[in-house]
């Protein structure tokens, strides 16, 4: 799942966008370059995000097993972990949908 989205990130031309933000540098903002410096590429950002979503999903499913076993003392821990996992997944889906949308928009350009 990671690699197709990474490919999308490459296709959608983020470098072009950062080129636009170079205008801010031209306006004489000295801080802009310093902010841009730790520039991780979009693909690795996405895969990091996916990994953390995966970790929270695994945590929630661990806790679900513990609830079923009766070994978990605090059921609220499970509900909160599953809330966090659900939010993470929603965020992932929102980003994925945006990426696909952007990709389709670009594909439509050649028509």
């Amino acid at each position: 799942m990671t690699s197709p989205i990474g490919a999308l990130g490459a296709v959608s031309g983020l470098s072009g966008i950062s080129g636009v933000s170079g205008v801010g540098g031209a306006a004489g903002l000295a801080g802009t370059d310093a902010v841009k410096a730790p520039n991780t590429d979009f693909a690795s950002m996405l895969s990091q995000g996916l990994e953390s979503v995966q970790a929270s999903q695994a945590n929630a499913s661990d806790l679900a097993t513990q609830v079923a076993n009766g070994t978990l003392q605090d059921p609220a821990q499970y509900t909160m972990a599953s809330t966090e996992a659900a939010l993470g997944l929603q965020l992932t889906m929102a980003i994925r949908n945006k990426a696909v949308e952007a990709f389709q928009e670009i594909m439509r350009m050649q028509a």
Partner: protein, 131 residues
Amino acid sequence: MSTFNAIGTAASGVTVYRKWLDAVSDNIANMDNVSRTSESAFQARYVVAQEAQDGNGAQVGGIAYGSAEGQLAYEPDNPLADTEGYVRRPDIDLGSQMAQLMMAQRAYQANISVVDRAKESYQAAINLGRA
């Protein structure tokens, strides 16, 4: 974890207040314990809450114990009474325990509602990106 920080922070509060609820229920359950004067009385449990070490939320630093001496009660009919007719009872005040129960319960609910609001807020932010 860091993406939805407010949820984890409030969850640590929920855990602390659940432990307080546990301590209060333990105290109330053992309120009427009777022991011989040669033994120590049931010691009330008090939860020591403190700031979490990673700076996000709260944690239980430990459990403090109440008086082991308790109170001496004159109950000559009690089979556990000593030769002078005294037994030892725990030094637990039900009124204070009930007040603590209410505080712990309300604080637990407050933390849960923080989780709820944080979830709604994060969801609103995600929906903004979705439209």
